[in-house]
């Protein structure tokens, strides 16, 4: 076995992305969907780092994007959980299929 290179990391990130995609499609709980989104964001950030390390010789931009992805993910998680909490106060459940709040 040769030591892991670009392709190894890319295939791994693709697998992780698809697991997150499966989670988003099949989950009915809002918090569960949020966790799947976090998995997908991590897979994307891993791609950036892999390209930066193995293809572009340590270009700083490749290390910068994961930083911003992490910062935006933190903001996104805070806002999403606040919305989920407000929704829960009103509906008492977090099931996406039984939720017709926006319809009425």
């Amino acid at each position: 076995m040769n030591s892991p290179g670009l392709e190894h990391y890319l295939i791994f990130a693709a697998l992780l992305f698809c697991i997150g995609l499966y989670g988003i499609v099949t989950r009915r709980n809002l918090i569960g969907m949020l966790m799947s989104v976090e998995i997908i964001l991590n897979a994307a950030a891993l791609n950036f780092v892999a390209f930066h390390r193995f293809k572009f010789g340590g270009d700083v931009a490749g290390a910068m994007f994961p930083l911003f992805i992490i910062a935006i993910a933190a903001a996104e998680a805070a806002v999403a959980l606040a919305i989920i909490l407000a929704l829960f106060r009103r509906k008492r459940n977090l099931d996406v299929l039984s939720d017709n709040l926006l319809k009425n």
């Binding site: 030591s3 892991p4 290179g5 670009l6 392709e7 890319l10 295939i11 693709a14 697998l15 992780l16 992305f17 698809c18 995609l21 499966y22 989670g23 499609v25 099949t26 009915r28 709980n29 918090i31 569960g32 949020l34 966790m35 799947s36 976090e38 998995i39 991590n42 891993l46 780092v49 930066h52 390390r53 193995f54 293809k55 010789g57 340590g58 700083v60 931009a61 290390a63 910068m64 930083l67 911003f68 992490i70 910062a71 993910a73 933190a74 903001a75 998680a77 805070a78 806002v79 959980l81 606040a82 989920i84 909490l85 407000a86 829960f88 009103r90 008492r92 459940n93 977090l94 299929l97």
Partner: protein, 180 residues
């Protein structure tokens, strides 16, 4: 040795991620997600990106995970025990679509990236040092990131204010009508 660490970590992360998306107890899913995030930090370390690894641990494992666990504990009856109400074909469709996406991704990665890699267009493997990252974060101009850096701070402030405003306890119009 690096190969062994990579495959062990990768397998651990994939197993934890699979647990996150399939378990019916959201709290256990959160614990699994902690494993995924910590494993990714380990992969960053394996790629010599120490700063990113530290940021991943502090922000994701230390910040976002605590937020998610708090949210779960604030609304336990809605998230602890999920019933598997999805029809089987729903999960089937999810699995098929995920597998199709993976097939496309894997094909393009091996066909294009792998060919480019073999052609020798890649530079020597290296990683940005913490010093380079810090300088780039605060320098204006072509290779600098000071503008997005400042924008991110504004976005974070806006998100925090927005989150507290949204989550604030407001009188529920529906229940008020019932009381009157």
């Amino acid at each position: 040795m690096e190969t062994l660490i990579f495959y062990t970590t990768a397998f651990f992360i994939l197993a934890a991620a699979g647990y996150v998306v399939t378990t019916m107890n959201i709290f256990r899913a959160a614990i699994g997600l902690t494993g995924v995030l910590a494993g990714i930090a380990g992969l960053y370390l394996l790629m010599n990106a120490q700063f990113l690894s530290a940021v991943q641990i502090t922000v994701y494992v230390g910040g976002i995970m605590v937020l998610i666990v708090f949210a779960i504990l604030l609304m336990p009856e809605a998230s602890m025990h999920l019933r598997r109400e999805n029809p089987k074909w729903f999960r089937f469709i999810g699995g098929v679509s995920a597998a199709l996406v993976f097939a496309v991704l894997a094909y393009s990665i091996t066909a294009f990236i792998g060919a480019q890699d073999a052609a020798g267009t890649s530079l020597e493997p290296a990683a940005a040092s913490i010093r380079e990252i810090g300088l780039a974060l605060l320098s204006p101009g072509g290779n600098g990131f000071v503008l997005p850096f400042e924008f991110v701070s504004v976005v974070l402030i806006a998100a925090l204010i927005g989150a507290t405003t949204i989550a604030k306890r407001t009188p529920n119009p529906e229940t008020k009508e019932e009381q009157e």
